[in-house]
Amino acid sequence: MELSSPGGTELPATDATALDRLRRFGGPKLLGEMITLFLVAAPERIAVARTAVAGGDVEGAERALHSLKSSAAQLGAMRMQRLSEQGEQRARTGTLEGLAQLTQELDDEFARVSEWLTHARNEGVA
């Protein structure tokens, strides 16, 4: 699947320095807890965004994507961050056009990020 910039594939999908930063803030314990929270919260926020898009709720979609953007960036899920930001900005202009497709892309990207973070959590705790 090809995406247009800024969600595109030309930029790195993940940034491991974000995980190093979390270890610095609170060791492997914080890193593990942040990953666990993200793995639960991110799919919930994508689901909230999808429901909002389906129901024509521009503000709800904007807020869910805004939360997702912030959390994804903190965990180094940069492609998810770019996709969320793209959607947030579109919603802020008052349109939900293309956002159903975007939430699908977020789902697909989350599946990849989930593997990456699960691996990092296992490594970090070991």
């Binding site: 974000a18 930063r21 979390l22 803030f25 609170g26 914080l30 807890e33 942040m34 929270l37 993200f38 919260a41 807020r63 805004h66 939360s67 953007k69 912030s70 959390s71 960036a73 903190q74």
Partner: protein, 127 residues
């Protein structure tokens, strides 16, 4: 110990702030504006970290109510936001926030120095 109130609906952001601030400050957490305004009035902290994007009452409205309240109006309030657009900083300062920190938190020293700067200013203002 100096008390900082954190108003933030996302559990991951609260956990991160705890990791950075725990041990340095006493922390009190609120997940929404209604609870925060009631809690701040009942037990005045030394400083507030206020998320902008909250369900229901957002950070801008909470700030407006803080600044309109005789008991709360002098509280130092630092905005926490992922809305990093150019011109945002000026907008938040003009709205009455003392300072502005962007999420994700990349450099914790920016947060810590902003907190200390406004705690100091607040103490000087009271003495």
């Amino acid at each position: 110990m100096t008390t900082i109130a954190i108003v933030e609906d996302n559990a991951d952001n609260r956990l991160l702030l705890q990791a950075i601030l725990d041990g340095l400050y006493e922390l009190v957490e609120y997940e929404n504006g209604i609870d925060a305004l009631a809690g701040l009035a009942a037990s005045l902290p030394d400083l507030v970290l206020l998320d902008i994007s909250l369900p229901g009452m957002d950070g801008n409205e909470i700030l407006a109510r803080i600044r309109a309240d005789d008991t709360l109006r002098k509280l130092p309030v630092i905005a926490l936001t992922a809305h990093a657009m150019s011109g945002d900083r000026e907008k938040y300062l003009a709205a009455g926030f003392n300072d502005y920190i962007t999420k994700p938190i990349v450099d914790e020293t920016l947060l810590l120095s902003a907190i200390e700067r406004w705690l100091t200013a607040s103490r000087l203002g009271r003495s």
